[in-house]
């Protein structure tokens, strides 16, 4: 590269300079990260700049906190107390950059990767890591194309959207039935990317099984500037339920528009609703009131999760799903390292594949990976009630009872 500059008649000085810059870039890298004796290096690849920077930063926060916790508790004991060391990467939401980070971290000695938030980046990055047989834990990334592709190095602890849709639909069916089946029809509003489209298609296919007709699927772009027209169409179709599957900003904007225009609905229900979090519920308690979401959620009855929540909030951050999913993935890795007694990639992958890790923070059963997907993962269904987020399903983790149908605007 820099060497190639000489080919078009660059002076000798800039040729040497360019080559120098390159070698600094390369050689400087391991030095920057400071090699600790015996440390197990974990590559964290998240989009911490760009369009979804917030989510990426939340993931990085969770993962780095977990690494600190593992180290404070004495590191990996079976490896003589080896510490975990984070290699921080930024995918910039770009596929190329994500892959580039994998290559770089591989050279810096990464024993495992955690990432990537966006599915397209994850698909390419896991592929790149597969070349080195390096385990890749998907902390966040909804697409079911991420796993079950025959890549032995990919593991996803959280349920994919297929599972989330199944569980969400089942819960909605139970809630609807419990209220005397007032809901008969739904409109699905979804973002037009991989995540929203995939979820919406699955939802539309499953809704009839609980006696609800999917009247229409309305896709929208990111960003969408105004939801007035979508509100108009929803009003004209008069569905009982609006289902939504979109990222944070559009989720909030759509919810706010429907609330402000007083569109009468029996309920609003999302699966993996990107904007359903503490900030939304606190900032807009009226808008969010009675909205329901199926999502990754921590187990509210677990002391560990409550303690972590306090710590995260004390640091001025929100306890969003990225934080505890990334945290939990580091713990999953630490557990596998403990059993593998080595950072050897073969052994580590074997340990992960055989993992029965109990995710303390999550409402999950014991881990069981099938083709890289954990079968023990479980989404929860939440409802916003009076500025709080309550778990309404599954029952053994519930902190409140669902309010459905919601009261009419008066």
């Amino acid at each position: 590269m820099a060497r190639k500059q000489s080919r078009f008649g660059v002076s000798r000085r800039s040729f040497v300079g360019g080559a120098g810059a390159l070698s600094v870039g390369l050689a400087g890298f391991p030095a920057i990260l400071g090699a600790q004796a015996k440390a197990v290096k974990v590559g964290l690849i998240h989009p911490v700049t760009g369009f979804v920077a917030y989510n990426g930063q939340q993931s990085r926060l969770g993962a780095t906190m977990a690494i600190e916790d593992v180290n404070k508790a004495g590191g990996v004991k079976s490896m003589g107390g080896a510490k975990l060391e984070a290699l921080l990467g930024d995918s910039q939401s770009k596929v190329e950059v994500g892959v580039s980070e994998v290559e770089k971290m591989n050279e810096a000695g990464a024993s495992a990767f955690i990432g990537c938030f966006q599915s397209p980046v994850g698909i390419a990055a896991t592929q790149a890591a597969a070349k080195y047989n390096t385990p890749f834990l998907i902390d966040v990334g909804a697409s079911d194309q991420l796993v079950r592709r025959g890549l032995k190095n990919v593991f996803r602890l959280k349920p994919g959207f297929g599972k989330c849709v199944d569980d969400g639909i089942a819960a909605l069916g139970a809630i609807n039935k419990g209220a005397g089946s007032p809901a008969k029809s739904a409109v699905i509003v979804h973002e037009s990317g991989e995540f929203g489209t995939g979820t919406a298609k699955l939802l539309a296919g499953k809704l009839p099984s609980i006696g609800i007709e999917a009247k229409e699927l309305i896709p929208h772009d990111n960003p969408t500037r105004s939801f007035d027209n979508i509100a108009l169409r929803i009003r004209s179709m008069a569905p009982d339920i609006v289902m939504m599957s979109n990222y944070g900003n559009e989720y909030m904007l759509l919810a706010r528009t429907l609330f402000q225009q007083k569109v009468e609905l029996k309920g609003m229900f999302s699966v993996l609703g990107g904007g359903f979090n503490y900030k939304f519920v606190k900032d807009m308690p009226d808008v969010s009131q009675f909205m329901m979401d199926t999502n990754h959620w921590f187990n509210p009855r677990s002391e560990a999760s409550q303690a972590l929540k306090k710590r995260v909030e004390a640091g001025g951050a929100l306890f969003t799903f990225e934080v505890y999913l990334s945290y939990t993935n580091v713990m999953l890795l630490a557990d596998a390292l403990e059993r593998a007694q080595s950072a050897d990639k073969e052994k580590l992958i074997a340990a992960l594949a055989a993992s029965t890790f109990k995710a303390e923070l999550m409402p999950y059963g014991p881990t069981k990976f099938v083709d890289g997907q954990n079968e023990g993962g479980l989404p929860a269904v939440m409802q916003s009630l009076k500025g709080e987020i309550e778990v309404i399903s599954p029952e053994q983790f519930a902190s409140a009872k669902a309010v459905f149908p919601r009261p009419k605007f008066t």
């Binding site: 080919r7 050279e107 597969a130 990317g193």
Partner: protein
Amino acid sequence: MSRRAMLWCAAGLLVAILYPLLFGGPSLIARSNYAINVAFLILFAAFLGQSWNIAGGYAGQTSFGHVVFFGTGAYVSTILHVSHGWNPWLAWPVAIASGGLVGAIIGVLSFRAGLRGSYFALITLAFAEVFRIVANSIPQTRGGLGILIKADQRPENFQFRDPMWFYYLALVLCVIGLAIAWWLTRSRFGARLAAIRENEDAAMALGIDVFREKVRVLALSGAMCAAGGTVYAQKYLYLDPSIAFGVEKSVEMLLVSMIGGAGTIFGPLIGSGVLHLVGEITRDLGNVVPGIKNAQPLALIVYGLILVVIVAYLPDGLTGLLRRRR
């Protein structure tokens, strides 16, 4: 080209060919797929930049939507491969031809309407948007779900286990791009384009068929760019509408050429080299700053400032620096 310049070119090419030996397979220094990968990215972006440069630099037809050709190439070969079972090597020429065709169509439409300067630039942006939205909405592309190319890493399948081969592929493309640019500086076609760039009305008065030349150059540029699209799809094995037709790629193509020096043979390559190295080094910077949470944005702030500084002190692009030095 002077004998000295030719010598330099030969030496540079030799280094480029030997480069993987330093970091790749036999690894004389240290095996580093990272170094290979960065070199790939530089050459690849340089090639895409060159495709922009052919139209934007040499013929003065600045485009903001060059990604429309990139995405066309990527989608055509991927759909033929994944949905119709074509071998990607066979699909590649079709993809290249499609890029050329799209270039010709956009050219005929816009140049017939007499669009120039920023009007032309903006209409290409609009075409890219149309393609993105269509790709998002039709079943053939699987819309927003994207297309996953099955990993089957065999050379006959246009997939390589060793990133070194993608590097060589990009090198070949890059050299072809340079050769085309060089040809433009020597051929009558290139001279006609230069005349159009400098003064379209005067070129017309000289008897140049301005419309035809502009359509031809856009078709050539589009075909080159589409060739890159297929390579991208085969390397990353996944394609969705915003990857294929997102505005960022258009900006990158224009950026590497303009920073390097639009309308020069080596401009895109120099621009791509510098911008990627700056990008790679600043990305690490985010991790060096101690005690600051989320320092990563600082890296891009530095990147943006460097961009401004380059323009401020090298108004003719980086190649302008070389010319001044001589």
